[in-house]
């Protein structure tokens, strides 16, 4: 069968059963819309975790017996590590001065205390481009093994908690995504099934004049692909419009100052659209199988 005939028949069917087709496309749109909103939330939380995580950085406390002349060498070593953006040495004296500033009116409690009480340290800022929670943990584990290092701090508890939440959200997005995509495929397949039921006589006549299964099935499959494509693109477009609106709100919000929001990554968008098309296509092919027996 010529592809042009299949397309002509598909568009003719779309015109004839316009209301049903719109309804089916809307179901696809709504399913993908819910999935896309969840995903948007997940990806933005992920960004947030990464951003705050990298801002937290690492504090590497040195052993108090580390000789001062070794500091430049350690600094070089630290600054040269992969993923380290910047390293800053904080001497015992500077740490003491910071504590005094922090205590403000109650700094008297530090009277008679030697600045050497506080260990010297390095504050390490992580390169944002390569930041990953696992990498920061890996780096901390590596540093603690240095003989000059007594302790490494990196807001572990906060990161761990956020990570658990983020993973949970990712699982929710994945599971709901699969379910919602399957729902769309199921609805499209069943709409096609109902359409085919209603048009059984027509299919019989087609078979009578020598139509192959491909000829009969072709227009229905094209319709399913169109529904999957339009439905998912429409959903992504709605999410994009809402995102643009929210971005403006976040930009002027006092509470969320400094927080950057991101749209769904394009590989994710294209895989959602692709999955929607593939599922609608295969759902329809499966639904039509029994009608294609001679």
């Amino acid at each position: 069968m010529g592809i042009s005939i299949a397309f002509r028949r598909a568009f003719s069917d779309l015109r004839q059963h316009f209301a049903t087709q719109i309804m089916t496309t809307m179901v696809v749109t709504l399913s993908i819309l819910i999935l896309a909103f969840f995903a948007l939330l997940y990806f933005n939380l992920q960004h947030l975790v990464e951003r705050f995580g990298s801002e937290l950085g690492l504090v590497v406390f040195m052993d108090e017996n580390t000789p001062e002349e070794r500091i430049p060498e350690l600094y070089q070593k630290l600054a040269g590590l992969a993923g380290v953006e910047k390293a800053r040495y904080i001497s015992s004296e500077e740490a003491f001065a910071r504590l005094q500033t922090y205590l403000h009116d109650e700094k008297e409690v530090l009277e008679g205390v030697s600045p050497r009480l506080l260990p010297p340290s390095f504050e390490i800022q992580i390169n944002r481009a390569v930041f990953q929670l696992d990498r920061i943990r890996e780096l901390a584990d590596r540093l603690i093994k240095w003989p000059e290092v007594s302790k490494v701090q990196y807001g572990q508890e906060w990161i761990d908690r956020f990570e658990v939440f983020s993973k949970l959200l990712r699982d929710v997005v994945a599971v709901s995504g699969i379910l919602l995509l399957c729902t769309s495929a199921f609805v499209v397949a069943n709409t096609i099934k109902l359409t085919v039921y209603a048009r059984q006589e027509e299919l019989k006549i087609m078979r009578l004049v020598g139509a192959t299964n491909t000829f009969i099935q072709g227009p229905f499959l094209i319709q399913a692909v169109i529904q999957g494509l339009i439905g998912s693109c429409l959903a992504i477009a709605v999410v994009f419009v809402c995102f643009e609106y929210m971005k403006d709100l976040v930009a002027v919000s006092e509470l969320l100052r400094g927080v950057e929001v991101f749209f769904l990554p394009w590989p994710f968008v294209s895989s959602v659209i692709g999955s929607s098309v593939v599922l609608c296509f295969s759902g329809t092919a499966l639904a039509m199988r029994r009608f294609l027996r001679l």
Binding site: M1, R9, I205, L208, G210, F215, L294
Partner: protein, 221 residues
């Protein structure tokens, strides 16, 4: 001598549980023949025709169409056989929500004929059956005779060598019946082999055509 275009050998058809439509049917139809298939209602005329275009399979025996043994055809090959056979029914089997033109062009779309060629041929065939002015009408807007002519046009538009007509005049008055008979004669004159199932003895009583009678599950010549 050319082999018969349709050959049946020991063909039986039984419907479960124990309804024997006919048994041991042996039949040969030559190319270009016009054969009347008669018999009372329920004698199995339609079933016999249905076996010829593979709408049903025989319980036993073999059928050859243009030398091809139908028992060797797979389901995916059946559509290609059907393109060699034009089928006309008593109830027309037209698509009511498609125009006359679309009903007829379907047979050509199925074989993948180019749009311009298909358009030309459909207009030609519809003009030939006297419906040249009604191509944009829908079947419910036509009379019974006109609808049957659309069905004939659909059956012959792809120029099949065989035409199976299953009581095509069953729903028509005498005048419309005669019109259909004239069309069938014309198609036969152009070389088509026609098997015309009917129980209307007026159509074949004064004819020189071969008449085959199906009665009590057996063929009588």
């Amino acid at each position: 001598m050319e082999p018969p275009i349709i050959r049946m050998e020991g063909v039986s058809k039984r419907f479960p549980p124990d309804n024997q439509a006919f048994s041991d049917v042996n039949l040969e139809i030559e190319k270009g023949e016009f054969v009347f298939l008669t018999g009372p209602s329920g004698s199995g005329k339609s079933t016999l025709l249905r076996l010829m275009f593979c709408a049903q399979r025989p319980s036993s025996g073999n059928i050859w169409i243009e030398g091809v043994d139908l028992s060797t055809l797979t389901n995916s090959q059946v559509p290609y056989l059907r393109r060699k056979i034009g089928v006309i029914f008593q109830d027309f089997k037209l698509l009511p929500n498609h125009t006359v033109f679309d009903n007829v062009v379907l047979s050509l779309e199925v074989i993948g004929l180019k749009r311009e060629q298909a358009d030309r041929r459909v207009k030609q065939v519809l003009a030939g059956v006297g419906l040249g002015e009604k191509t944009r009408r829908y079947p419910p807007q036509l009379s019974g005779g006109e609808q049957q002519r659309v069905a004939i046009a659909r059956a012959v538009v792809n120029r099949p060598p065989i035409i199976l007509a299953d009581e095509p005049t069953g729903n028509l008055d005498r005048e419309r019946t005669d019109e259909v008979m004239v069309l069938m004669e014309e198609l036969n004159a152009r070389g088509a082999t026609i098997i015309f199932a009917t129980h209307n003895d007026r159509l074949y009583s004064n004819t020189h055509r071969r008449v085959i009678k199906l009665s009590k599950g057996k063929l009588e010549f």
